[in-house]
């Protein structure tokens, strides 16, 4: 299949060269790529970081900044005679409506050959719809809603893993961990907040627990705006699970930790579903009481200690944007690099050629700054080699503890009791 697609791509590229299509000729000057992010509004600070990451990837591709040869983005555009990428930015302000019109503007007025965006899942949904309508490839590097790749879109590609995979990772992780440490962690409690996110997570966790023979000893939904969590924690305490899987926003994440401490309760492992537990405020407010929580993540800075490529690229980011990479910006950087690589392989700026090149993407884990097995898209446009990582708070830092081949630290297990810290 891969070979066939590769052959096809090469054929298409060759044809384009032979025919001397207008696309290739124009491309020598500049390749215009649209980027839609929340550059103003509540998520503006995130949007600005995403923008900086995309610009760094473009600058590396354009050979404006020297970067390690092995890096995907460092390939440049040899097949397009060293053409330069030009990023045209659109600001969706966190609004799905604006996301769609900005994408449309980039396509119809700015004549971009591909679009990347849009961080929020709901904005990505509408923006990619506009791209689909115009037949322009849409690269999504950072939205995790499962539904995005369930729409049978032809022009939509997503490099990041989605929510289902993150939850699936919990169970894979537990089984890996059981084998490695020779322990049994089969009694689990599900402790999730009571809106769409928490309910969807519970449903998936129940299904996976059933399939993989974990025993759900307690299942709780709590109202997110609550003044006390003592009844919840007492239920958990009475059920005595080995592992608690918890989905909470920041306020309740903090309150639940306080309540665990108040009632002197801790399971052997607390497995958090990102969100509140990974918010930069979480450790700032809880300090030492936040130690040993395990959570899922998409990226962690300690990956730079493991992988010299990540260290080098992070240094470039730090120099250029005065900020370290995080899970969002690292994914945006990678998305842009994948898109640039596809355009180079297409050897053309015709949207159809780029789409075909994207579909034929097959990038190894040693060329990217993500803790993934690589990048290869399935029929729905989802990267099937992506994976999340699992981090643990150790010494006030989030350190990677799983997958074991990218881990930088051992897991502290079981969590020490409150009075033994």
């Amino acid at each position: 299949m891969g070979m066939w697609l590769k052959g096809l791509t090469a054929g298409v590229a060759l044809t384009a060269l032979v025919v001397g299509a207008g696309g290739a000729a124009r491309a020598q000057e500049e390749i215009r790529i649209g980027v839609v992010y929340p550059l103003t509004g509540a998520a503006a600070s995130t949007g600005v970081e995403l923008k900086a990451a995309a610009e760094l990837a473009a600058a590396i591709t354009n050979k404006e900044i020297p970067a390690p040869d092995k890096l995907l983005a460092a390939v440049g555009m040899p097949n397009l005679k060293g053409a330069k990428i030009k990023l045209i930015f659109g600001d969706h302000q966190g609004n799905p409506q604006v996301g769609a019109t900005e994408t449309e503007r980039l396509i119809t007025q700015e004549k971009v050959v591909a679009v990347m965006g849009a961080y929020f899942s709901n904005v990505t949904a509408t923006a990619s719809q506009a791209a689909e309508r115009y037949g322009i490839p849409f690269m999504n590097a950072d939205s995790s809603s499962v539904t995005l790749t369930q729409r049978n879109f032809k022009w939509f590609f997503r490099t990041t893993p989605h929510d289902d995979l993150f939850v699936t990772n919990f169970f894979t992780f537990l089984q890996d961990f059981e084998k490695k440490k020779n322990v049994r962690l089969r009694d689990i409690a599900l402790f999730n907040e009571n809106t769409l996110w928490g309910n969807e997570t519970t449903r998936l966790e129940l299904k996976l627990a059933d399939q993989q023979e974990f025993k759900v000893v307690e299942k709780l939904h709590y109202p997110a705006k609550t003044a006390q969590m003592t009844s919840e924690v007492q239920r958990l305490k009475a059920a005595n699970p080995a592992v608690i899987m918890q989905s909470s926003y920041l306020g309740d994440a903090i309150l639940s930790m306080k309540t665990y401490k108040e009632l002197g309760f801790m399971p052997q492992m607390l497995l958090a579903n990102d969100a509140g537990f990974n918010d930069s405020e979480f450790l700032k407010t809880l300090g030492k009481d936040g130690e040993f929580v395990i959570s899922r993540e998409v990226w962690a800075l300690d990956q730079a200690d493991r992988n010299p490529l990540i260290k080098a690229v992070n240094a470039l980011m730090l120099e250029r944007a005065k900020v370290n990479f995080n899970g969002n910006s690292a994914r945006a950087f990678t998305g842009m690099a994948v898109l640039a690589d596809a355009i180079n392989r297409a050897g053309s700026t015709s949207p159809e050629d780029i789409r075909k090149a994207l579909a034929a993407t097959d990038i190894g884990s040693d060329r990217i700054i993500m803790p993934w097995k690589g990048i290869r898209f399935d029929q729905s446009g989802q990267n099937e080699l992506g994976q999340g990582i699992i981090v643990q708070v150790q010494g006030g830092q989030y350190v990677t503890v799983w997958p074991f081949d990218v881990a930088t630290k051992d897991i502290v297990f079981p969590i020490p009791a409150w009075n033994a810290r």
Partner: protein, 288 residues
């Protein structure tokens, strides 16, 4: 069912219930004296929390020692709001009064977000931290101190209202404004006093909570619905009613969350309130 679980539920319910009581007492006092429902009451609590937070963050004052200052500050805020907003709408239709205090709620939240950012904050290391175990039952130290503080303040307030001249005047105004005015009591002054004390109660409750509850601009919402339930259950305007109703609500909420399920705990408390209202519309200790 283990007896220690029951004991722990009773202790947890009692501790949080006493906090609910303190928040609700401020609300019921204002209503009792001047028949105005203050929707911004949760925001007084939020301001009290922030006062303690900033005193801690800037000068490392422990919230427990900041409490008297927090009380004074919120008393001032309550009086100022009475003088600038409430005084002008005393005779306005009830809907205008509701919208005035509702608007005040949104304004205070907005100001907090503007000046202090929407971040969640926490007082890092209060002197009250950790917990005491009495046999199998755990008493979180911050929660226990907060509950004791709530009892002391409620006791003090009761003493003030029933055993001092000024307090009796306030009570008299609450019972019958016109008769009180005829007896030479300055009703305007009493109203301002009620707002001051009401806001101070919420502020102190916020200060007590700040040792263990995250602090953010919308935190008042987590407590204001419960405060209203407590006031209705205890009987509009009744301090003693709010005190006992607070404890009942705390106990029912924690027990309901444990035995039925946390997703129903709010519904259980509201059902209890409806039930009491059906049997006894004026609440547990409300005036007929």
């Amino acid at each position: 069912m283990h007896i220690d679980i029951l004991l722990q539920i009773a202790v947890s319910g009692l501790l949080i219930g006493l906090i609910y009581a303190l928040v609700a007492i401020g609300l019921t006092l204002i209503f009792g004296v001047m028949d105005i429902v203050n929707f911004a009451h949760g925001e007084f609590l939020m301001l009290g929390m922030y006062a303690c937070f900033w005193a801690f963050a800037l000068w490392a004052f422990d919230p427990i020692f900041t409490l008297p200052l927090t009380a004074l500050l919120l008393f001032g805020v309550g009086v100022a709001i009475y003088q600038t907003v409430i005084r002008r709408i005393i005779k306005a239709p009830m809907l205008s009064q509701i919208f005035a205090t509702f608007g005040l709620m949104i304004l205070l939240r907005g100001l907090a977000q503007f000046f202090w950012k929407p971040d969640h904050r926490l007082v890092g290391h209060s002197i009250v931290d950790g917990r005491i175990a009495l046999g199998p039952v755990q008493f979180g130290l911050p929660q226990t101190v907060a509950a004791l503080g709530a009892v002391l303040i409620t006791g003090g307030l009761w003493f003030f209202l029933n055993r001092t001249r000024l307090g009796t005047a306030l009570e008299a105004t609450a019972i019958d404004k016109e008769a009180a005015t005829l007896m030479g009591i300055d009703a305007q002054r009493m109203f301002a006093l009620a707002w001051g004390i009401g806001a101070a109660c919420a502020g102190v409750a916020g200060g007590l909570l700040s040792t263990f509850f995250p602090i953010f601009p919308e935190v008042g919402a987590n407590f204001s619905l419960t405060a209203f339930v407590v006031v209705v259950l205890g009987g509009f305007g009744s301090i003693a009613g709010a005190f006992w109703a607070g404890i009942i609500v705390g106990l029912v909420e924690v027990a309901g969350g444990f035995f039925v399920g946390p997703e129903y705990k709010v519904a259980i408390v509201l059902s209890l309130m409806l039930l009491v209202l059906l049997v006894r519309p004026r609440g547990l200790m409300g005036k007929a």
